[in-house]
Subunit: 323 residues, 2 copies
Amino acid sequence: MATVTELLQPIESDLEHLLKDLRMLIGSGHPILQAAAEHLFSAGGKRIRPGIVLLLSKALSVDGNLSSRHRRLAEITEMIHTASLVHDDVLDDASTRRGVDTVHSRFDHKVAVLAGDFLFAQASWHLANLDNLDVVKLLSRVIMDLAEGEVKQGLYKYDSKQSIETYLEKSYCKTASLIANSAQAVGVLSDISENHLKDLYTFGKQLGLAFQVVDDILDFTSNDEQLGKPAANDLASGYLTAPALYALEENNSLSKLIEREFSSEGDLDHAFNIVRDSNAIPRTRKLAEKFAQRSYEAIKWIPDSPSKDALLLLPDYVLARLY
Amino acid sequence: MATVTELLQPIESDLEHLLKDLRMLIGSGHPILQAAAEHLFSAGGKRIRPGIVLLLSKALSVDGNLSSRHRRLAEITEMIHTASLVHDDVLDDASTRRGVDTVHSRFDHKVAVLAGDFLFAQASWHLANLDNLDVVKLLSRVIMDLAEGEVKQGLYKYDSKQSIETYLEKSYCKTASLIANSAQAVGVLSDISENHLKDLYTFGKQLGLAFQVVDDILDFTSNDEQLGKPAANDLASGYLTAPALYALEENNSLSKLIEREFSSEGDLDHAFNIVRDSNAIPRTRKLAEKFAQRSYEAIKWIPDSPSKDALLLLPDYVLARLY
């Protein structure tokens, strides 16, 4: 299976360029924001979102070159994504994200609020100056979905009555909307036909959902370095994802533990075991596979190129994180 | 002198309607956001910003009626303004604003971050759906200016070397940009000629600057209810406004007190007395009068109507707060 670095190889130097631009754009003129920008846009992150935008842009370009507007769109998606992460970390009181200190814990919650606002503001300014109302609408929908996703997530905390549809709507808002709408925006900037714009949206939406569902499985299956066992962070925080919701369908005793917010000794371990001993993880994996397959199918029409090849490998790459 | 209620009389019912809409728009579906929305958009606030947008819209309308897009623009300006206030209060750790609890202190900083993000997101979504790229650009510039103003404010804290121009740039970003750009946006939606668009921008810019300068004077002259004397909150927080900057030109001993951040007993009182005993307040008042006059001059061309009369009284109303 290809690594993410191999997948992003066709646009590797473009992505480096983008990160350099972002550090300059955000950091200029303010020492603390600069430190936050270095921290946020340093090398090492996977940058899968701007990577997808750049790969699509290249795959849809007649001469294989990237226009400045396509590059700017990739920057905007990364700004919006990063801004929402920085604020989410404040809302979740998270001290690390994928093993790296959050802005909120490295600096303080005020720097995190300011840095997030500054990123959103830059994003909306650069977005307006792409001079394309359709692209403005697509990306402002993303900003709206991210805020609604955060609201939904808070609203359904510890709610064992929520449906799998509610969970998927929240996942769409928080993860898939950005990939779906920015993929479609690439198509708008590349003057693609209306039908294929929908395909690009579908590719991004299904890929984003697959990605989120896989993430939610990993929360139950991958070992936390310190704990030596899965952390089940989502479950512990009351965020009920597909594995927990499927397990609830099989074993209703789980709902009692959730509704008392795991307040008794051993509740969380007990809940975790119910999920693990049920059919929930295999069912969730099937769900992820369905999304990945739909994502793959949606872009087969793109003309052959190394960038297209990389895009077609992405759905499998997302699933491969499970093995 | 007219009260603000009298000034806003031509659009009184429109403004009530707008607040009702905003409460619905923000609060729907989330109990805590709803409580925050009730708190933020309850009756009683002056709502001078959407008031200006509505008055201008009415004054520039051929039949004196407001279009739904003009109303929506007024809502967007109030959303952006409120979002930035809510986040500023987090950054400033403010527990009250004009005597009312901040969202941040009534609820907590997480609700404030979420409510602000949600408002910004709603604003950018409704903005895109006004379907006018020029308006999108004007208002996204405002969002950018607000973030830059906040950055500048932090950057120049306790900096006694800053110029009056730096102070005015910050005041433009934090206060005048919203009024200037939304006034121009009214003109765009009303199909006003290019020249007059600039006049509308000037009207808003100069009015906003007058407003901010007057606010900064009041911080030195109006008595705090509890203290029984001016609180000089800005000075105490290290935010150097026109009165402090003019006083610095006259009496350099003030700079020592500022640079040690008023850390010795009596420093703040001493600094306050230096400002009061200098010519700084009268000079600052002259500055406010200059801005107010320019604001007045910029819209004399608007056809006569009760809304125009109200707009022409606004610069004087801003100054009258000083007497």
